[in-house]
Symmetry: C3
Subunit: 165 residues, 3 copies
Amino acid sequence: MTMASDIQRLEARLTLLEDQLAIYQVINGYGYAVDGLNAEAVGACYVENGVYAVGDIGNIDGRDAIEAITRDAGHRALVAGGCAHMSTVPHVVIDGDQAVATCHTMVALHRDDGFVIGRLSASRLSLARQQDGGWKIVHRQNYLLNGDPAASALLGELKTGPTHA
Amino acid sequence: MTMASDIQRLEARLTLLEDQLAIYQVINGYGYAVDGLNAEAVGACYVENGVYAVGDIGNIDGRDAIEAITRDAGHRALVAGGCAHMSTVPHVVIDGDQAVATCHTMVALHRDDGFVIGRLSASRLSLARQQDGGWKIVHRQNYLLNGDPAASALLGELKTGPTHA
Amino acid sequence: MTMASDIQRLEARLTLLEDQLAIYQVINGYGYAVDGLNAEAVGACYVENGVYAVGDIGNIDGRDAIEAITRDAGHRALVAGGCAHMSTVPHVVIDGDQAVATCHTMVALHRDDGFVIGRLSASRLSLARQQDGGWKIVHRQNYLLNGDPAASALLGELKTGPTHA
């Protein structure tokens, strides 16, 4: 059945592309959701026991704690003053139902004469395919790019080659 | 006819991915075109009666007026001094022939010792599929992220879930 | 054989999307690899006789010389102090086995009170499909956006319309 197998092969390639774009949606969507104080949308980026590990600050453990960023007084002060949580285009490597994405993430802050970049980090995200076909973050490791060798090391572990492992 | 319906199903999934990438091309292409003073390419991003609504400045109504940004003395002074109109990766929700994209947009400006971010906005774009299959912007709403609650509210309206509604 | 030709047509559309995302991986992956001092991953972004032409600095000729950026004392000092080489979402035009991508690229640098944008350039990349189906950079032209008319001209040459030429 050549045509049936052709269709299966096309579907596998299509799924990889859907996966990559779904991962873009999650990673970039997180930033918009957190700036928008949308707790549900923030939580939806992570699995229930997901971890957001920030090298110079500590770990935020579990979806509830990550959602609670939107109610944190410090975060609310940033939003009230004007801020933007932004990610670059992630480099994505998909291996079946798991994926690793590498990107830069930054927080820009409003000042009287424009905006400054307050934080800029190297970020590695481990994601897992969900039952409904979507993707969520299992673990996100950030290291501030302040000369911390861990930040450069994280970026250097980038896999080369095709999107799929 | 299982295989025929398989093909139709694959085509529908493929079209969604094409749509999402075409929307990336329009949103990011606008920035390159406006920095490049390419009036035709700027205009091609918008439908004929498209609107570019800038919260703290006002509305620019219609493709001709939006194209005319490339001839505006203020814009030309920015370009002559060195500037970059940049967008982050948009979060895209497609619903048939309509789509909503959410992103951050910014304008960086050259200074003696590097570049500063002069403007940074929350941006929501409504786009429509065109007869030729491409996508154009119908309405773009920007709010400067200077603490204006409308900017955070716009980002918070982000839909979660899959690309298609 | 309608269904066979349907499958061929779908495959051609799928390949275009794979190409566009593979080009995103190369362009953004370069920045992570160079910040991560991963010589092999940096080199893998370019064909063997690839050229990285930097308007205000000069040409870096060949994969070996481009890889050697990761061993350059000046580059290592940037990484040791904290830096991020970032690209915006490229606008991609694919024509068979060749592609042209346009984007902004920047280098952010750590300072005591946050990060500054040290360099910000208009960038045009010519890429070629490889035997294994992947894409590599043949030529990358950067112009610093310091008011150099060549930078704006490069961005203005952006093609409008669909991804494929």
